[in-house]
Assembly symmetry: D3
Homo-oligomer: 180 residues x 6
Amino acid sequence: NGKFCKDPRKVSPNDFFYTGLNVPRRTSNRLGVNVTLLTADSIPGLNTMGLSLGRVDLAANGGLNPPHHHPRASEIFYLIKGTLYVGFITANPTHRLFAKILTAGDVFVFPLGLIHFQWNIGSRQAVGFAILNSQNPGVVTTANTLFGAVPAVLSDVLAKAFQLDVATVEYLQQLPWQNP
Amino acid sequence: NGKFCKDPRKVSPNDFFYTGLNVPRRTSNRLGVNVTLLTADSIPGLNTMGLSLGRVDLAANGGLNPPHHHPRASEIFYLIKGTLYVGFITANPTHRLFAKILTAGDVFVFPLGLIHFQWNIGSRQAVGFAILNSQNPGVVTTANTLFGAVPAVLSDVLAKAFQLDVATVEYLQQLPWQNP
Amino acid sequence: NGKFCKDPRKVSPNDFFYTGLNVPRRTSNRLGVNVTLLTADSIPGLNTMGLSLGRVDLAANGGLNPPHHHPRASEIFYLIKGTLYVGFITANPTHRLFAKILTAGDVFVFPLGLIHFQWNIGSRQAVGFAILNSQNPGVVTTANTLFGAVPAVLSDVLAKAFQLDVATVEYLQQLPWQNP
Amino acid sequence: NGKFCKDPRKVSPNDFFYTGLNVPRRTSNRLGVNVTLLTADSIPGLNTMGLSLGRVDLAANGGLNPPHHHPRASEIFYLIKGTLYVGFITANPTHRLFAKILTAGDVFVFPLGLIHFQWNIGSRQAVGFAILNSQNPGVVTTANTLFGAVPAVLSDVLAKAFQLDVATVEYLQQLPWQNP
Amino acid sequence: NGKFCKDPRKVSPNDFFYTGLNVPRRTSNRLGVNVTLLTADSIPGLNTMGLSLGRVDLAANGGLNPPHHHPRASEIFYLIKGTLYVGFITANPTHRLFAKILTAGDVFVFPLGLIHFQWNIGSRQAVGFAILNSQNPGVVTTANTLFGAVPAVLSDVLAKAFQLDVATVEYLQQLPWQNP
Amino acid sequence: NGKFCKDPRKVSPNDFFYTGLNVPRRTSNRLGVNVTLLTADSIPGLNTMGLSLGRVDLAANGGLNPPHHHPRASEIFYLIKGTLYVGFITANPTHRLFAKILTAGDVFVFPLGLIHFQWNIGSRQAVGFAILNSQNPGVVTTANTLFGAVPAVLSDVLAKAFQLDVATVEYLQQLPWQNP
């Protein structure tokens, strides 16, 4: 990922350390979601280690980590609190949805590069952890990427792809698209 | 990808061969696109070689290879005929669109796992080649995957993610979603 | 790791699922530790995904996940409850100890193949998660491997390596060596 | 390959773009061949993407891309114009030739590191594309490498290896060896 | 491993060369062992090549290359002189010892990341070569790493892990721990 | 390489063992060379380990391991007896020869996929070891592959590539081509 390794003599335990991942995050936004992703940017010792870790907070009654994929990582998701409806969808041509309702203590796997989501169907805030096998996995939130691109994607392209009319697409394109 | 290697004594030149990739494909469908992808399924000798090749035909005046990504491959796209508007969008948080108008002889790169598209803005059929560094790259066509999943994704999830109302989502979900 | 992929038509969401990782494990053993490791054996969908996840329970007042390494994985450790003294030691010739006291919400990284440990210095049971970038990472608990090998390593070898007398080594070799 | 990544803020669509690959190349040289190879040197966006693309022009009636191999890539060859005799040879001890006559639209695979060639047996210029899974694949043209090395390989070595007399080897070594 | 490649124009044959690996090494130390490891530090041309080579001299009658592992490499060991008892131990839970007596001309394999040793049971100096598939494999000598760490590992941790009393551990921790 | 792993319960130390690599090999053949290559075929425990080892015996006064490359491995060569002239040649366009005279105890590196050779310029048999980072590296002896292919490569192709007349090529093609 283009980062340099530190001079070994200057490395300290703090280069392998992060604190505060247990603090609940605010989810008072449109999607009701807050993702904290620890990569080699936040923990220098992760550089070249091939791992990252994310905390996902989802607001009660509908907090959503919207459909997205990681271009460079597979994921294990572990739910520690709450009740979620989660799923991933396989590639062309089958588009099979593999979905499951998770409660605290459940684990679900999202394979490399496939689109997946987490949806809070419970009545209290949910918290899970996303475990990724890259120190720089990337996140592509599908709707945000397509309708919030800068500069905008030609509206004809999106209209035809999504079977929407151009006016709807252009309405969507001028909305704010908050990332989780 | 779970395929076995053939007994070396039974391998013949035909295991490394495919014919007819120059034949124009029919593009008389809703999207105006036809993709022929040669993987280790069509050419056994590609197994373990880490490469595949696709032919993309796009109908005149708006044929579209709609936004999609490859979960396990980067791509070089080479246009041999026609005029296209192509692009890819970077991951969160920037969502930068890198787009370009291509004419015959132009080459464009789509990085690993990022969403990209090709749109025929010319008045005749266009033909390009997609070069992928996996013998099993996978294709995830974004709209088809989300709105054509089987079983369907909960409409509330898609409505919230795309800032559409539920009725629109459910209308979209019952449409046919043809893959390129 | 030599496992075969399932026929895609027979795969179900349960192949990507595990339940009960939130249930506290018994730690009433000599070391005061209990490790639950989810690999491709427990979650078939992890096969080829390059990830695994372990739950580590450590008894109050001295529960110990003793010095060990993973021959095929780096690790992120995330502490959700309790207070631990953790560390890893670099390779020859420096043998630097990188150690830290962790409280709930802290994260620490153990680089590929280096020996590390977790020691409960708090007065209640501690729980952490070990995140590993291999579906088959392996665990080599140092003392158990050397003194509990079957058949036994020649006692002269261990005596010389550890600067112990042969009688002490042979006494150790006949002890039970429980794995975490 | 030792190249640095650009500052992401300074990257533009042109870093992923190349134009003019459809322009016929001159083949009026001894071998009757002209290879244009697009690597991370010509397209900066290919850096770390693991792909490159070459155009091969072969003169009518005997243009030859002489026996060569790529030390760091497998290849898919796609012929868009003309008629070629192509082949690769397996490693010791079998030395099996896998050869085929290709016409426009045909595809052939050359496995990683094996020696292969393309020979124009038709009466007009031929054009094909070489697709390689490395951004820096390397080309080792066999005869040129051995007889055109600088400084020269000891003629005794080549004479014994090729079962030629030393005078013939030394004659060959003073010839010009043009690369495709 | 963070090393840069040299400017190709400045590279010379000496960057791929090392001399004197046949010279016997002194083994008059506590363990009776001397390891010379050639990595990309000693041979710049090894950078990115994924290989290293070590010479192991073992004193007559008990010279010991004590239990150790390589965090980033598998090993082939080739004995050219003397008689050794060698072995490796598998990971949890089996801890199987795979051991063998080797005489000159014998070869033994130590799999990635597993603890192994070589012990001279003959009456003259023994010499072997360790072949490793990383240009920076690393060596973790088990006892030295645990008892010679700087700063010291808490003695309680080692006492509990090794089933030794704290006084013995602290005695061991103040001893010198020479690396092979 | 398509080999299956043994059932772990049936694996024994002999699966990691080979004996007799110190026995001189006969070199009374045209080239004066004998190569013994230990891969996963000869040592089952090498499977998935990414390493192999070859012994090279070269007859006095001109024994030659003729120009060849390994399609899937880099090499460290270690000379234990004799005096050799060795070298490798870089890829197009430079074709630089990196050559060196080696005596016992010298080490030389041959980078991935490049053509190299060893030539005995001393008056007694020489012995070296080739260390390769693949359990199935492959050997492509250049002259043998091109002139000894079965079926034969079209003589026109070789004549043009090597700047030889067709009669010379056809004479060479009917010679026996012994592999080292």
